[in-house]
């Protein structure tokens, strides 16, 4: 429960919508009284925004998946009927989701089991079990939330493991390549970096996210499209456009910084070749699996030939 006192606006909106939402959420089935459901809605509402208008709050509360919210919170409170429904609906799905993340069966089971432990609430606070389900707010589907939580758990776990591995790899590879990165060269390089940073910072967040997902993470167009909820062709067009404009804008930025056109083009090319090793290393180390994708390698090879 939130420690804040909910705003009066929120309270009035919740009171207004409570009968409808309580019925819609089938709270009776899972043993949630209107009073306790009202508390949940107030908590979720305060988390959303402290300064939202009544209209915004109404839209927000009506957009919540109240039935799943009620189910999750009833589970968090240890209601057996709720757990029965939850397990029937999600047990299998949770395992399948884990299996999609980690193809190895025992690892997937382990992942799903870890999440179950969190969902049941193994840790205690003030003598009460704390279930992870108490942090579900009904903003997305419960199934989607479970997948996200599962993915977060996996990524955290994977990153922990990976850090150890990369240290070993690093010692095998040697650290000689770290030097150029640590000592940025003066003059043209700085200007090039500045110009590039400026262009990247001016991009729309979505464009930048698409660039990062495609060029750094090595995601496919289809994956990016599904992540952003748009059509694949939109991503394809966007990437085309971005690739064309990036080069042009960096060159323009370099010219503005006092380089001639030719200098600017040269510095773009020269720097690229010098930086190859750095990129390879940093990509391999800091990015998720798949980031060092084939197309990255191909591009690098082409660049080298050119």
């Amino acid at each position: 429960m939130s420690s804040h006192t909910p705003s009066p606006v929120l309270q009035s909106v919740v009171n207004e919508l409570l009968p409808d939402l309580h019925a819609k959420a089938s709270c009776e089935q899972v043993g949630l009284t209107p009073q306790s459901f009202s508390e949940i809605l107030l908590e979720v509402g305060s988390k959303y925004s402290a300064s939202a208008s009544a209209g915004e709050l109404r839209t927000f509360l009506l957009s919540l998946r109240v039935d799943e919210l009620a189910l999750a919170r009833a589970c968090a409170r240890g209601n057996n009927a709720a757990w029965e429904i939850f397990l029937i609906r999600f047990r299998e799905k949770l395992y399948l989701a884990a299996l999609r993340i980690d193809r190895e069966d025992s690892a997937a089971r382990d992942l799903a089991d870890t999440l179950y432990a969190d969902l049941y609430g193994t840790s205690t606070r003030d003598g009460h079990r704390v279930s992870k389900l108490a942090s579900y707010t009904g903003r997305g589907s419960l199934e989607g939330w479970l997948r996200t939580v599962l993915a977060q758990e996996y990524v955290n776990r994977y990153r922990r493991t990976k850090r150890l591995v990369s240290l070993e790899e690093e010692s095998e590879e040697g650290l000689q390549f770290a030097a150029p990165e640590a000592q940025p060269s003066a003059g043209a390089d700085t200007r090039l970096e500045q110009a590039t940073d400026e262009v990247l910072a001016q991009l729309a967040p979505e464009d930048r996210a698409v660039l990062a997902a495609y060029y750094l993470d090595g995601r496919t167009l289809a994956e990016i499209a599904r992540m952003l909820g748009v059509h694949e062709s939109t991503i394809s067009r966007k990437l085309d456009k971005l690739a064309k404009s990036l080069r042009k804008q960096i060159l323009a930025g370099l010219t503005r910084r006092g380089m001639s056109r030719r200098q600017a083009e040269e510095s773009l090319e020269v720097d690229v070749r010098d930086l190859k090793v750095d990129i390879r290393r940093s990509l391999a180390q800091d990015s998720p699996p798949g980031s060092f994708s084939e197309k990255t390698v191909e591009a690098r090879v082409r660049e080298g030939e050119g």
């Binding site: 399948l96 579900y136 903003r139 199934e143 599962l150 930048r208 992540m227 990036l246 930086l275 660049e303």
Partner: protein, 428 residues
């Protein structure tokens, strides 16, 4: 895909390391489901553009390929790879029967030859489905012998005047081809439906969809017969039945049988639209639309457009009122799960579904078992019971390899079987 300047990639990589708090799972989920308001969405996108970790979480949390997307992508592949195979099955069937015909030629029944050579002018459509099976049992060998000629040279006009046996024969000709190309289709669909997963359901079915549509017209005659009595339970019958919830009127199927026999290549162009018009069904390209079923989040869902969209099917709404009484009784008998009685009697939580043409069985928690014999338009609750016991527990698995025989497995370890379309049940 175009390349971006390497320096851009490098700077992107450098910036890709935010230390600000990550959006919580609720917000990421709402983002993935496109239910955030624009300002919030932009904020999350901004974070994502600098946070490899959250991008990765988002990618891992993507749902399994949605049914609609699978449908969109798979047919292209199937069109590219199946046409040759499809006709290979047809010709293989014809060749096999031709060989069989020549081998058996010496034992040919003269009386049947007479019948073939001077066919009675009687129309075959009306009586064919009823008369055919019995005749076919006795005469099938002979018919198959006379088949090669018919398959190659018969014209639609001629077929109309041939005796029923001849038409029946045509179905034999086309049957192996259909069987071959459909062998992994609808059956898998049923299996996957029973496992409550829609992940592979569409892909497993769709690759065969174009073949289904093109080759179905000939076997529809078989299916209309199958629904009535065919206890031989030929594999084709159940396979076709699963794809064709409503039998074609015999007259329509006969016409198509003739055409299929005389000119296989023409079938795709002519027979399917004709058959579909007769049924009054929708048509997309040459693909035949038939309802497919799945269980999603405990709800029974039906798609009549190959999985692009799914509609919840409310079994309770169309089930008899008597059914809920049965349900209540069943619960009290069981003496458990009574607390959920109210909830489940209004909306059962489904665990499994099995479809066999228009025959659909759906089962779920607390011994919920519903049957529809009209592709889901009307439902009746079924309470399997023998002298000593009544079905209990959750229905976990439903297997209906054909319209008559079925098998139910429950969470309490019970296995119930029927051999008469659910009229009587046996506990094993």
């Amino acid at each position: 895909m175009p390349e971006i300047p390497k320096i851009a990639r490098q700077r992107l990589q450098r910036a890709d390391n935010v230390s600000v708090p990550h959006p919580d799972a609720n917000v990421l989920t709402a983002f993935a489901e496109s239910s955030l308001l624009p300002p919030e969405r932009t904020a999350v996108l901004d974070h994502l553009s600098y946070c490899a970790e959250c991008r990765e979480v988002l990618a891992f949390a993507l749902p399994a390929m949605e049914a609609g997307q699978a449908v969109l992508s798979v047919p292209r592949r199937s069109r590219a790879s199946w046409p040759t195979l499809r006709w290979a099955f047809v010709s293989a069937g014809i060749v096999a029967l031709s060989v069989f015909g020549f081998v058996e030629y010496g034992h040919r029944d003269d009386s049947l030859r007479m019948a073939k050579n001077s066919p009675p002018p009687a129309a075959i459509h009306g009586d064919q489905p009823v008369a055919a099976p019995a005749v076919r049992d006795e005469r099938s060998a002979n018919e198959e012998r006379s088949q090669p000629t018919a398959a190659v040279s018969a014209t639609p006009e001629k077929d109309r005047h041939e005796p029923p046996q001849e038409t029946e024969l045509a179905k034999n000709v086309s049957a192996p081809a259909v069987h071959g190309s459909l062998a992994h289709g609808p059956r898998q669909t049923n299996q996957f439906q029973q496992q409550n997963t829609n992940t592979f359901q569409i892909p497993s079915r769709v690759p065969n969809a174009p073949e289904t549509s093109r080759e179905l017209p000939p076997p529809t005659g078989v299916q209309s017969r199958a629904g009535q009595q065919d206890s031989r339970s030929h594999a084709i019958d159940s396979v076709v039945a699963a794809n064709k919830p409503q039998p074609l009127p015999p007259s329509a199927s006969d016409g198509e049988v003739s055409r299929a026999k005389s000119a296989p290549a023409a079938v795709a162009a002519q027979a399917v639209p004709a058959g579909l018009e007769t049924q009054g069904r929708t048509l997309q390209g040459l693909r035949l639309i038939s309802p497919i079923w799945m269980v999603n989040s405990g709800r029974l869902q039906r798609s009549s457009d190959e999985g692009r969209s799914w509609q919840d099917v409310n079994v309770a709404a169309s089930a008899d009122t008597g059914a809920s009484v049965d349900l209540a009784v069943a619960f009290s008998k069981e003496g458990k799960l009574r607390k959920d009685k109210k909830a489940i009697s209004t909306a059962p939580v489904f665990r499994a579904v099995a479809a066999n043409g228009p025959d659909v069985w759906a089962g779920g928690t607390a011994a919920a078992l519903y049957h529809s014999s009209d592709a889901g338009a009307h439902w009746a609750r079924v309470v399997p019971a023998s002298e000593s016991a009544t079905l209990s527990g959750d229905v976990l698995k439903l297997e209906f390899p054909d319209a008559q025989n079925g098998r139910i497995s429950t969470s309490t370890g019970e296995v119930w079987t029927t051999a008469d379309s659910g009229q009587s049940w046996k506990k094993q």
